[in-house]
């Protein structure tokens, strides 16, 4: 496959994984927690490297998963002991991220990672970092990692769909009928963590938030069905990735930046034009009410 195809495939996998998991974050009003996790996984990655002395995907996923869960857990603990939830997120997120930055600078010589790369990602280099098993070149390792994470996410969502749904809509009822709401919460947070770390290399910690939140927020304006929302969000993720790649080619700009910008433009267009919840249709409805 060509260089461009690999980049588009990588971007699309980021778009689909983030788009799907992002819907649940929006419905559970946890967009900020995703922002926090997307940053604290940096600490997970650094710790994973210091323990394993390797930058292989599996160590990164485990390290990020653990720190992602720790983030969610600490936020929960602070919140339930009386700290406001956004303040709790702010405290946990900056502390863990700062710790990650310190470790990274202390061991900078040994780790093939720098803060800039972690924050902004570099999808341009993805096609050269390939996975080779037994001398065979199997394509970019990022694609393998993202593919694995996407499959894990899809299996978990498929298995726990109704539990995730009811505990997002009505946690009290879910608890009353015996659904382990906290388990589902931490399951989702683990999924957010591994999705983030897999997307990290390609789009970086800041833009991964855009890919997590924007497609879901757009889909939310377009449909009244949960399943449709998941699918639309994934499709928007793919369109942003492919559109972003071509836009970057044409104007010679950052690929990840233009992917996130396309997602933002799609959201803006939807926000104005969506048939049911759009600004325009609301204005028209109001006008027709007045003239009637």
């Amino acid at each position: 496959m060509s260089y461009g195809t690999w980049i588009m495939l990588t971007g699309s996998l980021v778009g689909v994984s983030c788009g799907i998991i992002g819907c649940f974050l929006i419905l559970r009003k946890m967009a900020m927690l995703a922002d926090a996790i997307s940053h604290t996984v940096l600490l997970g990655i650094v710790l994973a490297y210091l323990v394993s002395h390797s930058l292989e995907g599996i160590y990164m996923l485990v390290g990020a998963g653990i720190i992602g869960l720790l983030t969610a857990f600490l936020v929960q603990v602070l919140h339930s002991s009386g700290v406001q939830s956004d303040a709790a997120i702010g405290v946990v997120f900056t502390s863990l991220f700062a710790f990650g930055v310190i470790l990274l600078s202390a061991f900078a010589g040994k780790v093939h990672l720098d803060v800039n790369h972690a924050l902004m990602g570099e999808i341009t280099f993805i096609p050269w970092n390939t996975l080779t098993i037994g001398g065979m070149d199997l394509g970019p390792s990022a694609v393998w990692m993202l593919g694995t994470v996407l499959i894990i996410n899809l299996i978990l969502i498929f298995l726990f769909y109704k539990e995730i749904k009811i505990s997002s809509f009505d946690p009290a009822m879910a608890t009353a009928i015996g659904i382990p709401v906290m388990f589902i919460h931490y399951l989702l947070m683990s999924m957010v963590s591994i999705t983030t770390v897999a997307s990290f290399d390609s789009v970086g910690a800041i833009l991964v938030v855009a890919m997590l939140i924007v497609p879901g927020a757009t889909a939310y304006l377009l449909t009244d069905k949960l399943l449709a929302m998941l699918i639309i969000s994934a499709v928007i993720g793919v369109i942003s990735a492919i559109g972003g790649y071509y836009a970057a080619l044409v104007w010679n700009i950052s690929i990840s930046g233009s992917m996130a910008s396309i997602a933002g433009l799609i959201f803006a267009a939807t926000f104005i034009l969506s048939p049911r919840y759009g600004l325009l249709s609301k204005l028209l409805a109001r006008k027709s009410l007045i003239t009637e």
Binding site: K162, E163, K165, F169, A172, A176, I177, G178
Partner: protein
């Protein structure tokens, strides 16, 4: 055996006791109203029974066993305002959630569950609204969807948290006829209620609650001026000396 047995139940939020040493047994097949001022712990009582808030002490039994093992016997109608009605789902889907406890892990609700859910919607007069997005329903319709969901739970004991708040007259009537139907089937229904004027009309039994149990028994016996004054303190001024048609609750 008693459908609901609560012994020495104490619940505290941040060291402030909300319920103190509450003990009671509910008889089977009755409509029971729970009445008390704001902050009396009415909702907390239901939540503690269902394990939604931690108990500081005490125990709860549903038909002689812990709630954990009796979940399938219990139906729950939370306060309507406790959920986000903009969630992307329709009325039928919400009612189907009442079946989740019966379906079990890794399985989806099937045709039988859908039939039960449709029947429940029909019972509350909402069959035509099955496909309606829940944010497009009126407050009363949303409340009826919640009731239908509880019906779909196919329970023996029901807990309802303020089902009459903010509903239209038609919904109020629909809820009352539903409550009576449940009673006729021998089910026990405990309802947190706000409106003192309708207590006598709606409920066989009344629990007067203000952090502690003030009184419990058949409504005509316990719904008296003395008990109400004990429950509401000085906040209740009676226009009549009788506990009948009209009185005013002063803030």
């Amino acid at each position: 055996m008693n459908p609901i047995q609560v012994s020495n139940l104490t619940v505290a939020y941040d060291r402030k006791p909300v319920l103190q040493e509450v003990t009671f047994q509910m008889p089977e097949g009755k409509l029971i109203g729970v009445v008390g001022p704001n902050g009396a712990g009415k909702s907390t009582l239901i939540k503690a029974i269902l394990g939604l808030v931690p108990k500081a002490s005490g125990s709860v039994e549903i038909y002689g066993k812990s709630y954990r093992t009796q979940r399938k016997l219990v139906g729950y109608v939370p306060q309507r305002g406790s959920v986000d009605w903009d969630f992307p789902t329709n009325a039928l889907d919400v009612v189907l959630m009442g079946r989740y406890g019966h379906v079990g892990w890794f399985r989806r609700p099937g045709k039988k569950d859908t039939a039960i859910a449709m029947q429940a919607l029909d019972k509350v007069g909402m069959k035509e609204y099955a496909d309606r997005q829940i944010s497009q329903l009126s407050g009363g319709q949303q409340q009826r969807v919640f009731l239908a969901r509880a019906l779909a739970q196919d329970a023996t004991v029901y807990f309802m948290d303020e089902p009459f708040v903010g509903v239209d007259a038609a919904t109020e009537k629909a809820i009352i006829s539903l409550l009576n139907e449940l009673k006729a089937q021998g089910k026990t229904v405990l309802v947190v209620h706000h409106d003192l004027q309708t207590v006598k009309e709606y409920f066989d039994w009344t629990l007067l609650l203000n952090k502690q149990k003030i009184a419990l028994g058949p409504t005509e016996e316990v719904f008296t001026v003395e008990n109400l004054q004990k429950t509401y303190g000085g906040r209740l001024a009676f226009l009549d000396s009788q506990v009948s048609p009209s009185y005013v609750v002063q803030p």
